[in-house]
Symmetry: C2
């Protein structure tokens, strides 16, 4: 009771303090203000305490300066400043329609197809729904609502899950039966064996990338080779795990070509700085660059990693997204096996995700990594890392198995599935071409072809006056361009500086994902904005 | 072409090498064997290379010794050695029924209710299925298959998701509408306001815990206060992020009491070693210990954290799991608000998960953390960490919203929902009591009550002869006991050494989750085993 009175007394003093010294206590967002109010209230509270005086040794209050510096260093452009501005504008539009010269925000900043109206593949969703609520599988109404093969597939999947319990944690690598299906899909894709025990199912590809970085990076002296431009998951993850990003530049002039001579040069430079380069990240098809590597080039990369003792981290999440007839996707595993390298000759990790492809199921957070060429002892450590988070979500696991073993010829859903898939991929190819042509028509803009993936990464030669203006605002010139574009048109793109680029060049990444009927309007808004921008700043 | 010939030549040499020096090349699991074969093949390959000689500087092959030492240090007992043994025995039983003196493995190692036959809550699964496949919402057959309020709830949820796109990435903190529902549920629980902007939705609670450790830990000099015994997620996460676990011991004699005097003593000791203790982890209800903190005790803990400047990390994932009428769950936020501490007075994080409670939806990987009392600048860093992984899975997000706002009186599903919920919780209470009594009947075993959570953590006074035997096998005595129990009965428990315990005492953690009809057989197997074990080793 005595203690309770003391608590109340403290509370009163505390509130009084807050009101006297800061009438907007609960609204204030100024960190200094907050800090001093906090300190003062704390001091008075400690005086009021009936149990003890505040210790001089007590931990200082939590400020940004006292956080893990690796967290502070980490950057993630695709959800960065430009997206915050977009969200603000969206709120404006909702609160005051007509408050901006556009009617809606068009998010071209992130590969999130269903947010822009792409519909999910019906068969996949049927199976997921049935696995979520298996008690309806036996009901007659279900026959009328769901395709026969989705019902059959749901039964197959449930039979692979012990106790048919889709609400139970699975094996930390993912359910074994689902891994069997994925392995079969990889075999069908590559023509080489795949072992379900090599698969680690994850909540999207991102946790798999983090896991590998966590495994490999010991200190700042450990380097990870990354393409520039790169998808900022890699720079963020390397920063969070305290390693060094060792860049290799893709050659824009040859359609974002990956040259072995560049790898050699950069590797040598890193080694001379005392960096142990541990792994090479390749993103194929490229993000943000959209190129698809030629098989010959992939062989050279495999050989280079083999020779230099590098783990090959192959980001292959866009493997289904190929838009030009002259290019095909070849997995690095297929390439290395076709060179005669077996299971133990080269450490190779392939990342795959349900978020991309023609299905674009970003919200389901499914994915896997296929880990080959590691010793059993190293594998055990990867397993341990996976086990600390118990397992990835089962719906994502099921979806990963569906993506890697979709309906086949003869299945009831095959025709509708194929029509949905082909419709999406053909439309994406048309959108890529239209946007690429439109960009190439702009003054000072050149844009390589999007052979694959979901992005265009045009280069903009900005006038000096625009660069100076950006500098005066303490912004990167491409970030300035992107914010002007957003404010004028509602179109959200990510500045090239978020991905890395040859110093002195400026780019932005724009997805090809807005729905096809919106593309003409986007093209005309972009064209009109660009013309005005250039008129304003032309040297 | 020349290159292709060279590749083939290399491949042939490599295979020949493997066959000559190791005919079981692809089967060998000996790491030395593997290593030498690998080195030799590599050497010959480099001789065969037509492009260059192997560089002396090339990165050495990937071995365990060259991995991140933080990963090597990390341990995770609930999926450790004993579970590997259990999986092996299960395979034996499948291949050769009758090969062991039991018919099945009973997994009491992990809180995974649905893996042991617990059925999901029908209403939750109905809503999830409808959100996965919304096109059936308008069909007449759906009315017959799904409850009216599940259909209504699915519509509500879909209307909160932009474009009704359950396949799109959400806001990195989770969909705003779903966070609104969760905040409303927290308010209803606590009687104090909750802000949806304070919620970060995560794939289960584990990623949230990792995020906070990543944020707070800068080096080994940063300490995190953890109860001993503790749930090994904490020790694993602290090890992975390179911090120091600062222990405080729960008092077994007072039902795993948490004494402020112990906190003070251990904090002082840590500070004298130069450790900056940054946060205090409290698990309430306790894991593995099952106690439920009294509100008075919670107030003292809040006061202690406030005074010492510690972030309070409240693991409240078992908030629905209370089995004794004399105890109630109070969230630390409610307690601190009722003491008069406002939103900015104490940094407090509450972890919640859909994996526990009466629903036990482990496989769905849903959860959230409620983050209050941090400055906007620090919050921004947490948001950045969340954004690097884009978002948690949407089904898990939906389920978290359902768990925090289940059917209400008057809803069509309310009665069936309540019956399912009460049936599960009452059965868990009976199972906890039966197992507790059975354990207390064993020679040398004492077991505190499971007031809450899903576990019993009995103490075993092991005979010296048993301890010596364990030492001769280089096992912890409780690990030896657990492996003998498993080999004799198929029952999997986790040795106390995986959670921490007072040196010289031995425990194990056993879940209360096997289905009720199996409990009598488990009790008799356990009793029979224990008697034989004591007969074998009694001093």
């Amino acid at each position: 009771m005595r203690k309770f009175v003391a608590h109340r007394a403290k509370a009163l003093i505390k509130h009084a303090t807050a009101s006297i010294f800061n009438p907007h206590h609960h609204l204030s967002s100024s960190s200094n203000h907050y800090y001093y109010t906090f300190r003062l209230a704390r001091f008075l509270t400690s005086i009021a305490s009936d149990t003890s005086m505040a210790s001089d040794k007590s931990t200082p209050p939590l400020t940004v300066d006292s956080l893990n510096p690796k967290v502070l260093k980490c950057e993630y452009a695709v959800r960065g400043e430009i997206v915050s501005l977009a969200q603000k504008l969206q709120q404006d539009l909702q609160a005051n329609p007509g408050s901006h010269p556009f009617e809606e925000i068009i998010y071209c900043n992130i590969g999130n197809p269903q947010s822009l109206g792409q519909q999910p593949i019906t068969f996949f969703r049927e199976v997921l729904a049935l696995c979520d609520h298996p008690t309806i599988l036996d009901r007659s109404e279900t026959q009328g609502l769901f395709s026969a093969d989705s019902i059959e597939r749901a039964w197959q999947i449930l039979d692979q899950i012990p106790g048919r319990a889709t609400g139970a944690y699975s094996h930390s690598q993912g359910n074994k039966g689902l891994r069997d299906s994925i392995a079969a899909g990889i075999e069908a894709r590559d023509g080489f064996p795949a072992d379900p025990n090599d698969l680690f199912l994850t909540d999207g590809a991102s946790p798999a990338v983090h896991m590998m970085m966590q495994l490999l990076i010991r200190s700042e002296q450990d380097g990870i080779f990354c393409p520039i431009p790169q998808y900022p998951l890699y720079s963020a993850s390397i920063a969070l795990h305290g390693g060094t990003l060792v860049p290799y530049y893709l050659d824009e002039a040859t359609g974002w070509g990956l040259e072995i001579s560049e790898l050699k040069k950069q590797l040598e430079a890193a080694r001379q700085k005392g960096i142990t380069v541990r792994a090479l990240v390749v993103i194929n098809p490229g993000n943000p660059t959209g190129q698809v590597l030629a098989e010959e080039n992939q062989r050279d990369i495999v050989e280079f990693c083999k020779k230099e003792g590098l783990v090959l981290l192959a980001d292959e999440v866009y493997q289904e997204n190929i838009y030009v007839p002259e290019k095909q996707f070849h997995s690095f595993k297929k390439v290395s096996r076709s060179m005669g390298y077996g299971d133990k000759d080269i450490p190779l990790v392939s990342f795959q995700s349900v978020s991309k492809g023609y299905h674009g199921e970003c919200g389901k957070r499914g994915g896997y990594m296929e880990v080959t060429g590691f010793s059993p002892e190293v594998r055990e450590q990867i397993y341990k890392l996976a086990s600390v988070n118990l397992c990835s979500n089962i719906s994502g696991q099921i979806l990963a198995s569906l993506v890697m073993s979709p309906p086949k010829v003869g299945d009831e859903s095959y025709e509708s599935y194929s029509a949905e898939k082909d419709g999406i991929l053909q439309s994406l190819a048309r959108r890529a071409k239209t946007l690429e042509d439109a960009l190439n028509n702009l003054e000072g803009v050149t844009c390589n072809k999007a052979e694959g993936a979901m992005y265009l990464f045009p280069r903009i030669v900005l006038p000096n006056k625009a660069i100076k203006k950006a500098e005066s605002l303490k912004k990167a010139p491409d970030a300035y361009y992107a914010s002007r574009l957003l404010n004028a048109t509602g179109i959200v793109v990510v500045p090239g500086s978020g991905f890395g680029q040859v110093p002195g060049t400026w780019h932005f990444r724009c997805t090809i994902l807005p729905q096809e009927e919106k593309i003409p309007a986007i093209v005309s808004q972009l064209t009109e904005f660009h013309k005005k921008f250039m008129d304003e700043f032309r040297d």
